[in-house]
Amino acid sequence: MTRRKRRLVLISTALAALGLALGLVLIALRDNIVFFYGPSELAQRAPHEGQRLRIGGLVKQGSLLHEGDSTVRFAVTDTKQEVEVTYTGVLPDLFREGQGVVAEGTLGGDKVFHADSILAKHDERYMPREVADALKKQGVWREGAEAASNGK
């Protein structure tokens, strides 16, 4: 086999692999990305039913309700708008009322967000960045306010 032919084989295999990867990536990006919205954005954008979403904001004070076997209902707010969330499962350790939370799931026809996973912060000093940004967008973010409220 000549050098030229060898190079041809090599290049065509490489192109085939890259093409395959590119195709897979494009398909995956079309169907498998999840958008993040704050409650106000969610109200504006009105995503269609069943689309996977992430929402984030603060858990509204006094909104947490336990509905029987490990199902909870709470409201996520950015102080302007809020959205009801239901979730069945074990809440993360850092889930608290008045603190930041990110929920992933789908918005139902009843405008209730059905979450299948809840992420709270890894550390009480930090707000999930998406939540902080969503709050800043609504102009209700105060630098340092969070730290003060945590000074226990």
């Binding site: 692999a17 897979l24 498998n32 993040f36 490990s70 074990v90 550390d123 226990k152």
Partner: protein
């Protein structure tokens, strides 16, 4: 006082690194022996200084010296000693210092163990290491000084993030850093080879053991991190395709590819340009990982603090080192001579395919990790790319790799016979089919799990086909066997074990399909069935630890009426930070695990519990251990040591280029 000397030592280390960045290169250009001889001693001295600074910070942590901001923010006098020591790297400043410490360890190791290397190559390698060291020391001193003092020392510290107060902290970061930073050596070798124009088999031979060390550490570090997340996050998951995990997976993929293509370069002097490219790429991805994790662009347990100046600084380091090395690469790549010829069906061909698939996998992970960041920067739209993306892109690319792995091991160099190899693999293939049929009949379950288990079985069996043939071919007797085993090079065993290891991991991953999960509220005395076991939740008991209080849910596991294990899932409360953390109760039964985590304990003892039965799950991490074991076997191969001296002597007298 010792704190100030530690700070001073860091400044001295920076000055030394700057000197060592220039003199050896100058020496190698001028051919000045004395200037080149500066490099090893300066590298050793640099190690001494950084080690001293690190020790000083450790002492401050152990003594709970709350006049240091770093200690106040991350320590507490009641914290157990092990977390005072390991907590040094449980924060941004300390972990960067560990990064530089590991870097200087590698520099010193090159100075000590590469005496037989050509002098100009060694001088240049150490100089490039010093550039990296200087950049990161500057970063520490300017933006993340761990020795900063407070004017008024508080009486007590804020304690370490409870998620990090875990034995995992003692193992995971140092191993991962050994891997990340170990790749800096391959980078330095590549840069030095480009500078001195010495890109040949000698280069490949020297760079291989270092790549292997980095790869072993990275493998173990990633596995350890995944096990830590598994038992501490309470979700029963072990890999989340989180950007931070991806940041460690990308260098691993590149290092794996590099490991394989240095073999080609060493044996056949082919793929030179590609090897150099991969060596630069692997460390570049380590730097990207460091940037992602340390700059605060991501929210994660690893992002300790988000200070924008730090992000910009690391980005600058990233651009200079990656851009600089690729520019040098572009400048020199044209001068590199083409290596030996080979047919597409050959060991070389298989390794090329391996590299192609690994780098493509790496590219998909790269896109999945950085696309959300790029999109947000450009359009402001926030998205997340989760497991579905990676399952659809990474997995289909990795499966062919598994299929091809045993073929690559059996193909000879230069020119191979595909049909012959397939014939030799027929046994492994048939055995895998039978294994699949038995699994499907016996366990049923999802088809994906059955198929992946079959692939895993084939990989494990196929890994040992070559060894088996060489050991057992032509008569079997114990004496003959051990004689033949001694005759075989260690790296042949190493390859077999490393390949089998990834097969074992795949088997563990495949078996997740047979697992079961229950989320339920439990009253004391209640029973739950999970998989083949019965769990009896006995009671909630309060307990006190050194710096936390916990509620422990004692649970007994029974199989067919007999007690087989007791687990104690717990939720802990750390008063210093007012934080909770759960501690999963895990019982390893055979190779499977019963996993239980509890939360929301009510005063009358009712808990919300998440219970899993995970058959064969231990194999995921055992596989990683086997891979690392294989790596160590290869590393202990005589050819690495004997060869180095022999090759180097040969290199002293320039040998003629092999005719093509």
């Amino acid at each position: 006082m010792i704190v100030e000397t530690g700070h001073y030592a860091l400044v001295l280390a920076l000055a030394l690194a700057l000197v060592n960045s220039i003199l050896p290169v100058w020496g190698s250009i001028k051919g000045d022996q004395h200037l080149m001889a500066v490099a090893p001693s300066a590298a050793l001295m640099g190690f001494g200084l950084v080690a001293y600074a690190y020790l000083a910070l450790t002492i401050a942590h152990v003594q709970s010296d709350f006049s240091l901001i770093n200690v106040v923010e991350n320590s507490h006098s009641a914290k157990p000693l092990i977390y005072k020591i390991t907590g040094v790297w449980g924060n941004h400043e300390g972990s960067m210092l560990l990064w530089v410490l590991v870097l200087s360890v590698f520099g010193a190791a090159v100075a000590l163990f590469s005496r037989s290397m050509p002098e100009d190559l060694r001088a240049n390698v150490l100089a490039v290491q010093s550039w990296i060291a200087a950049a990161f020391l500057l970063f520490i001193l300017l933006t993340s000084n761990p020795f900063a003092r407070l004017a008024v020392a508080p009486a007590e510290g804020n304690d370490l993030n409870p998620l990090l107060q875990d034995p995992g902290l003692a193992i995971h970061p140092p191993l991962l850093y050994l891997g990340y930073v170990g790749l800096s050596i391959t980078y330095s070798f590549a840069a030095a080879a480009l500078i001195s124009g010495r890109i040949d088999a000698v280069f490949a031979r020297f760079v291989r053991p270092w790549t292997l060390i980095a790869w072993i550490s990275l493998t173990l570090g990633i596995a350890m991190g995944s096990y830590w997340a598994y038992y501490t996050l309470g979700w029963g998951g072990f890999w989340f395709w989180d950007p931070v995990e991806n940041a460690s997976l990308m260098p691993w993929l590149a290092a794996t590819a590099l490991l394989h293509c240095t073999a080609v370069m060493e044996k056949r002097e082919a793929l030179k340009i590609w090897t150099i490219f991969l060596a630069i790429l692997a460390f570049s991805l380590s730097l990207v990982g460091t940037f992602l994790v340390r700059s605060g662009v991501l929210t994660s347990v690893h992002a300790f603090a988000s200070d924008p100046t730090r992000g910009v600084f690391i980005l600058l380091i990233l651009v200079i080192f990656i851009g600089g090395s690729f520019a040098l690469f572009a400048l020199r790549a044209g001068e590199i001579k083409q290596g030996g010829l080979f047919s597409p069906v050959s060991r070389e061909g298989a390794l090329v395919l391996n590299n192609l698939l690994l780098t493509t996998c790496c590219a998909t992970v790269f896109i999945g990790t950085l696309y959300p960041l790029a999109l947000e920067a450009v359009t402001g739209e926030k998205i997340s790319v989760g497991p579905p993306f990676f399952n659809l892109t990474f997995v289909p690319l990795f499966i062919p790799l598994f299929i091809l792995m045993p073929f690559g091991q059996l193909l000879p160099w230069k020119r191979g016979d595909l049909a012959g190899v397939a014939q030799r693999l027929a046994t492994a293939f048939a055995a895998a089919l039978i294994f699949m049929a038995v699994l499907a009949a016996w366990c049923g379950g999802p088809a994906v799990s059955v198929i992946l288990s079959g692939v895993a079985f084939y990989v494990i069996a196929g890994s040992f086909v070559d060894l088996g043939r060489r050991l057992l071919g032509g008569g079997i007797s114990a004496g003959l066997l051990s004689q033949r085993a001694r005759g075989l090079p260690r790296h042949a065993f190493g390859t077999a074990f490393a390949h089998a290891g990834i097969g074992v991991t795949l088997l563990g991953l495949a078996a997740t399909g047979w697992g079961t999960e229950k989320i339920t509220a439990l009253k004391p005395g209640e029973r739950v069935e999970i998989g083949p076991y019965e769990l009896i939740f006995e009671s909630i008991v309060p307990r006190n630890g050194p710096n936390y209080s916990e509620l422990v849910g004692r649970t007994v596991i029974r199989a067919k009426g007999a007690v087989v294990a007791t687990i104690e899932p717990a939720t802990r409360f750390y008063p210093a930070r007012g934080m909770n953390r759960s501690e999963a109760g895990i019982a390893t039964l055979g190779l499977g695990q019963v996993y239980m985590s509890i939360a929301d304990v009510t005063p009358n003892g009712v808990v919300n519990a998440r219970i899993f039965w995970k058959p064969l799950v231990a194999l995921i991490w055992i596989g990683a251990l086997i891979m690392a074991f294989g790596g160590c076997l290869s590393l202990s191969d005589r050819s690495f040591r004997v060869g180095i001296a022999r090759r180097a002597r040969k290199a002293q007298t320039p040998s003629p280029q092999p005719a093509e």
